[in-house]
Symmetry: C2
């Protein structure tokens, strides 16, 4: 049960795009260079964010990614769901309907299994906490630790580079 | 990011063992029959629960599994950790230390990354909720839905069966 590394990559790329603050698409090569990531694989990891309406992508030589909305309107839940899909981590296979209770009528299982309910309830706490975390708030926390991050990114972005 | 089916199997087997209420090890075949599960694979899934001190296992012809403690002392968190391991689902690879910030001294990264902190914080909410759910409380909820579960299991257990 491991969250894809794409979540870390994607969340960081959103922060980086905001720090860059450029009014043009940023190439995958440039984003990848920002965190020492493999460009082709990063490109693949960012596609679901385009589909989820977090980023927009432009094809072509001057193409790349831009934020589709402000960081305050993107939560960790959005990023996680874009990459991992909307399915819950706990998937009940209704095993209670076999064996001992295999002869019960279907109506006996209308109420969800108590284990399933408890597992899903706990997972909901997690998703709620993720949904309460906007990338803007996270960026702010990062800048509290290191107030120069935006300047550093913009200087780095201006350096000539392949 | 899917939780192993072993979590559903193991949690249900703990409930079943308690409902059975027998003062002897219950064979994997019997437990597997309780939920229509493949015995060999169930046996494999239950081994980590033995290691985690939730079940005890006895080898041999009359061997099998018993609860190592009462359901009130086993939480969903215990079962999840036994099966999935203690590692957090979100694993930060410290990508912030490369690229733009590759030349920073190690001391610049002493404070954890704000994304990592937020992801881990949210996951902690989930684990807290799992740790607050004892199997005894879940069993009680199941019996509220169907008060006959214990009787049904004990009748089923007494039936002659391979
Ligand atoms: S039947 Fe799936 S968790 Fe109980
Ligand atoms: S460096 Fe890993 S989450 Fe930020």
């Amino acid at each position: 049960m491991k969250i894809s590394e794409g979540v870390e990559w994607a969340a960081h790329c959103c922060l980086l795009l905001d720090w860059m603050g450029v009014d043009a698409p940023v190439s995958t090569a440039r984003l990848a260079a920002g965190y020492g990531l493999p460009p082709a694989y990063l490109n693949k990891q960012l596609q679901p964010l385009v589909k989820a309406g977090i980023l927009t992508s432009t094809a072509g030589k001057k193409g790349g990614f831009r934020l589709a909305k402000g960081l305050k309107d993107i939560t960790l839940m959005d990023v996680l769901t874009a990459i991992e899909g909307p399915a819950e981590a706990f998937q009940c296979a209704e095993i209670r309907q076999h064996g001992v209770w295999g002869d019960e009528p279907a109506s006996a299982f209308r109420a969800p299994c108590a284990i399933d309910t408890a597992m899903r309830g706990a997972e909901l706490e997690w998703r709620r906490a993720l949904a309460a975390q906007s990338l803007a708030a996270i960026q702010q926390n990062a800048e509290l630790q290191a107030p120069n991050l935006r300047t550093q990114v913009q200087e780095w972005y201006r350096e000539p580079r392949p």
